[in-house]
Amino acid sequence: MNDSEKAPLIPEEGEVGFVEHQDFVSEHPFEFVYGGKIPELRLRYETYGHLNAAKDNAILICHALSGDHHCAGVHDIEERKLGWWNFMVGPGKPIDTSRYFVICSNVLGGCQGSSGPGSIHPETGKPYNLDFPKLTVQDMVKAQSLLIDSLGIDCLHAVIGGSMGGMQTLQWAIDFPERVGRYIALASGARHTAQAIAFNDTGRQAIIADPMWKQGAYDPNEGPDRGLAVARMMAHITYLSDVGMESKFGRKRRNVDESKEHFEVEFEVESYLRYQGASFVSRFDANTYLYLTKALDRFDLHSPDSLDSTLSAVTAPGLVIGFTSDWLYPPQGNREIVESLLRLGKNATYAELTMDFGHDSFLVRAPKLYELIHSFLSR
């Protein structure tokens, strides 16, 4: 109450600038938790900053469902779109690339260059489609660990991720405790609520019900675009909050052409969501969407025994961050992870940010989030 503290000096910020992706290829068969294997494993990834001689300054960033390996910088001068966490990653930023070697990989099962249902089976020369094995978050993490091996890194300074990336982060801390120096999980949880599973399945049904899906064996140029766009529109609503949507769109209308069809875009929010749906289709694969959402629904740290028994493997200090307006992965789901860790006598911190951006709050630049991550990583 009476003691005040000065905010730490945050150094001048810079940008990582132009970046290029790289591909990790393992020619050994990769086996999945549920059984099934693929003859070779590919992960597309980007790195920023430099690995030091001791190889102990690496930070792994795990992306969310619709994210990818491009989390900072730009690919070329034509491209205006920055990496999805550009405000967080760069010289002088909380994930400081002048100190840390930062790695971000496209997940296993993804569709941006990593092995997934859309990639070509090296033996048959055809896409895996639904022959791609059942996927779990554990598989994603195991694949990333092989990438980390290939970079000659034994122990990561930190693993960080939000949403699905937060689940991977927790899985890292559980499966590879000796390789994780510390971890930060944002807007995540130990398992999906019934509501989260319900939303995911409605999205999957939109894809599956699209006649272009063809049991997953669609031509990549003629996929179930309508279904995928609807799935994305609905999922996108779950990433926002009612307050956020109200302040951004309210009941604002587009200039409606009365002569047009009755159900054309009328409200701003419709236009926004349709745009989100359409742009998602251009960069995302429907089968990947099915596989990843199913992996998330199956993720359950309460199983096989209890949350405490699963988390008992964790040794690294952790920071879990919840957001007040996140109703997809609500604060309580984040909090219970730290409650369990503290019950087990582990070093864990829970912080909750009051932000109006719903689940997507972790993707929004906010000074408090910025300072929290900066402080936790640099201590």
Binding site: E5, L342, R343, T349, Y350, T354
Partner: protein, 203 residues
Amino acid sequence: MIPIDKKRQADFQIIARWVNEGECVLDLGCGRGVLLEYLKQKKSTYGVGVDIDFDKILSCVKRGVPAYQGDILSILKNFPDDSFDRVIFSRTVEQLDDPDAILAEGLRVGRRVTVGFVNSAFWVNRLSAFFKGRRTINEVYTKPWYESQPSNPFSINEFEDFCRVRKIDVENRIYLSGDWNSECSLSPNLFSGYAIYDLATSV
């Protein structure tokens, strides 16, 4: 006038005296984590803080003190019996919604409970109420009532009553005088400004 951080040092030192080397400590209403940092340095404790306010948790993170942002009663209910060697309420009890239930939970979760509080019956407060008809405003309570959080101040005698009624064993009690520095033994309910109690559950 003694500056506030000097004032605080005395109660920190007393609490550190009671804490054993390497103990596991839960600090409820931990603020910026200063006490836990102090105990870690002096007694190599493993401490966890609890506070409702994000900025306080952020300060704990900066100090390297693990902390939980949330409600005290809900986090206490999370822990099995005797999870901690010591549960600390340092200037926290007067701000609790349900002090009776929370102190009972503290005694269940901790083998020992330390309570530090400002004695509302301190003579200066009495004089201020009697002559001015106003509450005391000093370097600890700097704000008028309309800028303060709701608070439920109590006196040393009232706390003694509580321990008796609830059959709580008082293992140790230390009274500090008005400067919160030197110890005070004479009529503490009148002359002591700050009290620190070391409690245990009656067996």
